[in-house]
Subunit: 718 residues, 2 copies
Amino acid sequence: MSDPLELFFNPKGVAIIGASTNPLKLSHGVVRNLKNCGYQGPIYPINPKGDEILGLKVYPTILGVPDPIELAVIMIPAPYVPATLEECGQRGIKAVIVITGGFREAGADGAAEELQLKEIADRYGMRLIGPNCVGVMDTHLPLDTTFITAMPRPGHIGFVSHSGAICGGTTDWAREVSVGYSRIVSLGNQLDVDIADGIRMMQSDPHTHVISIYAEGLPDGRRFVEAALPVFRDKPIVMLKAGLTSSGTRAVASHTGALAGDEQAYLAACHRAGVIAVDSLQEQNDLAIALATQPLPRGNRVAILTNAGGPAALAADELDRGGLLMANLETETIEKLKTATPRGAQLANPVDMLGGPRAEMYKTAGGILLEDPNVDMLMAIFVPQAITPIDEVVANIVMSSADTSSADAAPAEAGKPVVCCLVGGESITEAARFLNENGVPFYQDPNRAARALCGLLRYAELRVRQDLTPQPIEDVHAETARAALKGAWQKTGAGFLDAETSAAVAAAYGIVVPGSGLARTAGEAIDLAEALGYPLAMKLIAADVIHKADVGGVVLNLQDAAAVRESFETMVGTASVGAQTDRHADTRRVMLQQMAPSGQEVILGAQRDTQFGPVLMFGMGGIFVEVLNDVAFRLAPLSAYDAEQMVMETAAGQIMKGVRGQPPRDIGMVIDTLRRIGQLVDDFPCISELDINPLIVLEDGKGVSAVDIRIAITEPPR
Amino acid sequence: MSDPLELFFNPKGVAIIGASTNPLKLSHGVVRNLKNCGYQGPIYPINPKGDEILGLKVYPTILGVPDPIELAVIMIPAPYVPATLEECGQRGIKAVIVITGGFREAGADGAAEELQLKEIADRYGMRLIGPNCVGVMDTHLPLDTTFITAMPRPGHIGFVSHSGAICGGTTDWAREVSVGYSRIVSLGNQLDVDIADGIRMMQSDPHTHVISIYAEGLPDGRRFVEAALPVFRDKPIVMLKAGLTSSGTRAVASHTGALAGDEQAYLAACHRAGVIAVDSLQEQNDLAIALATQPLPRGNRVAILTNAGGPAALAADELDRGGLLMANLETETIEKLKTATPRGAQLANPVDMLGGPRAEMYKTAGGILLEDPNVDMLMAIFVPQAITPIDEVVANIVMSSADTSSADAAPAEAGKPVVCCLVGGESITEAARFLNENGVPFYQDPNRAARALCGLLRYAELRVRQDLTPQPIEDVHAETARAALKGAWQKTGAGFLDAETSAAVAAAYGIVVPGSGLARTAGEAIDLAEALGYPLAMKLIAADVIHKADVGGVVLNLQDAAAVRESFETMVGTASVGAQTDRHADTRRVMLQQMAPSGQEVILGAQRDTQFGPVLMFGMGGIFVEVLNDVAFRLAPLSAYDAEQMVMETAAGQIMKGVRGQPPRDIGMVIDTLRRIGQLVDDFPCISELDINPLIVLEDGKGVSAVDIRIAITEPPR
């Protein structure tokens, strides 16, 4: 076995270190589960007291265990874990699960002990899951190293969870509704094996059709993106992350010490990685079931077959909100449906068979709808009533879908997706299980069934989306930018660069800044003004003046030499250079800058996120910034395609196309500027913040002008 | 019993017309349910064949049934219903449920037969539920006139449903999770008893704490608003309406023939009526459970008590999205929690007791949290695991909430709301039932529990909101407006009024329009211009010119008499008056209008909705209209308070407050104008459409100017 991560699922021999003879102890539960699940290799309980557990010989130490032995599960108190891990290394074991808690999550001492574990694992070349986890399951092998009551039935959802409790809850739920899982991994503190590794574990598993992730923190966000990117077209990745809002972050931080990231940066990372972000466990499971069992839709047109109009209308409303359409049935389809449905049935879509259809009509009418070339997906709805037996109904729904999907077929194969909504409670429990067991996803609520179809289409679109790999921009002068940044660091250290240096750094990356220069005297200012041309803006450059506008430090629209002189004197003072009364006066200069013609104002920015690195922002400028929240975010750097998408998903982008008689704006240059910023902040990790506010966007073909640029650095450029 | 609607729930004697001796027939099921549910009055099965059903004597006709008899349930084929209804009238019965379908929903003939039923019912003063329904339930009396398997347990949710299938599905679900209901009414085609009556039936029932409505159509939307308004402060009304989107409307229309309304008008009606609109059955039930059993929160601060951090973080994220806060616990609370939780527990909020709390800690710690004055609501979360028995956990959660809420207490009494989330499936089923039975709402998903708390707060705020009753505006000249509208109707009939008449109608209602006048000749134009003052706009008024701007029919910024003459001649032609070559030329005139100073542009409008009457619209004007969708809707007319809320919920309103150095605008006059439009369209139902686009809003105190007004009428004013 070449991939050491595979040893966690398919080991030749498993040791359970800390196994107890007491059936009430969790460590006993692990031995019982591993033995009962059907695992075929040898199981070695380890306990200094020796004895026997469930007929298995107990070894006093891992060092004395015979071959083959490839996986150790450690469940002893935290203080004893390091020495035992050392022994596992000596014994040549390459895969270790540390279920024991009380490390990082217990405070500083625990965190230090955790680092010790990492050192030992690295020294022996061991991969380590945990600590503070519940282990792993593989339903197909089978293998169960957890103390969770029992595994779900074998299926096609691979679940990667930060939290052991969520693994337990999900498993419990899956057994109730008979949803199948392939592998379940509880990562705990992610000391070594992390979510990125979790994705790879699922990628390599042929039984896994969809990767479902529950995360609390993503300390290395870029590693996650790199792990997901090569996978998402083969296997959809659905991810739920707790701690996105400030309240949620506080909740996560208090219990695992995980660093929760900024929500916008996380969503930008999911976008880049091709990961579908969801907001709740329910939404995650609802979508995973559909993705695990259904082929992908080839279009957005849905047919609904129902015995009650109300739930169909609710589903139609939700489909509409998600951008899906009710299919227009072909005349031929409607003709065929006439003989396949009860008299009086409504044959428009939704096809409402009213109160009393025969069960087999769900198969016949369902099949007719699936054959219609205008239908891309089918939703079957049944509200239990006295006349039609529900077990027969669901059997027929499964038959109608049998030609087009199969529980064992990989997603995205031929066929059309079919989902089923049963409205009820008591009466539907068994039928719901039957549906899930036979490859038709069950939903108790029409809106949830509709959202699952929306999710299928969203993934189908994501799967064929254009490649987002950023293309490097060639015509940038990194050395010029580096020199400017280095100079700024030497002069003022961390913080914002002055306007002149910011503009120079941006210009080095080909960002269009208005022509400008510096002047120390009125005479210099006039010479410079004549060279730049009018109209001009004058800005005071002085270390002691932060809010320029407040002290009359910005004057706009200077039209001639006289105006330049007058403004210079007002701003700097006639006798200021070398004046003894003002200790800052000798550092005072003015910047003269060409005025940009008027145009649409937009904002471009970049921020460095602790987890995901540089994140770009684009949105509407001017008075609307604070009120509208019209902004889009992406990870930097950006491909041209992604930059265009980013701009066009904002109202600012739509307006730039030219609405209500306004001229179209130079969107191409906005995209270019965004990409140049992206490359700049990616090339220089010392830049913590960058803002262009505003970028003036002129008419199409006439370019842009970055009127005001602010750049902050936190360290010298490398 | 003074209220005839009460006869449906508390009749002295019930006849079931069409009762069958065949146990497989639905009509037999109704007799069985009524007999088995515990109904105490006499039950009279009616069937021409006579015989006996379940030991009850079968009467051949309703006319022969002895007293007391107050309710008839009709389940015979549609063609026989009218004659039977006539007999019910003769027998003196005042309440009739027609379960039989095949009327309006079956086409034009059915619709005609349905009207016949209405005529008969009205003639005898009978109230009629249905046709095409499943009847009613009262779990407390008890009474069950449906053929649905069984009633839910007695509780406090009153359910009014257009659809019988949804009644069946909801009942089935309620039994599974042991959620209590007070009354359930299936309205069917709403021939007589409609949703407004349904609200009154629940209002008068002391067991009903929350009114839950499922609607497909609201033919008389204003009647619904009037029914809900006097009720919503006493009993929350949660409403789900199918068919809000175009897809959903089509789905509803095809199966019941209900007219589905425009979504914005519906939401405006819910706003006025104090009704909480929800989007799915799940959301409806989740919120109804909480409202039926919990006291209302006095603030927005939530404490979470959990044995797993992940679900707590998910809940915290969802609370944050809904505008709720995680409570800051008092130091004293944290001190107390130290002894009430396991060692190592995280005592910040959420209070995470980690893997192995003792069950009674949910009571003790829960009680401590509820005592904290900074805590307004409590969410208890439990993920089942091996150590802590779930039945004991939920018993303790119920005990912690016992002091503050009770299943039998009316909402809004003293105490703090408590909800519970159990994450799992198999292991939680019994515990979930126990929670619901003991007055603590259960949710399987942390996000759903969080949204329920958000819903409780939303209702608490709704309950105390300011009265929205529109105050009539006195200084309007209805007769002036009427005369103008009448003149326009006589001249051009249905359609848009000309600019001059529109402005006159608006001015009659005190809407500020720029000074203007009409001129037929260049000389008249110059005289008028001198009187109005410059700058002026000139608009061509001609029956044959619709798009004025396209034919040079609008000229702006005329600064003097020469400009007026030149524009007039370009627009109308020097020799046009009376010219033989142009048959429209003699009707051509120009309107001269004062130019409004520049200011913020907003749009105000009104549309007449078929179900809800006049609906007002307000939003941002200019180039942003199409891109931003920044609009608010309300029913007309409007109170000053509601008009202000309407304006301030848009970005346009926020910007008018004065952002980024812009001056504050005259919001007061915008509100005034909105209210005047509201009164105008309410006073004149002949107005089908009204638009002011744009209304120029000047700086605060300087007023507004309705530059362009369009009014359409469909009939003469009454």
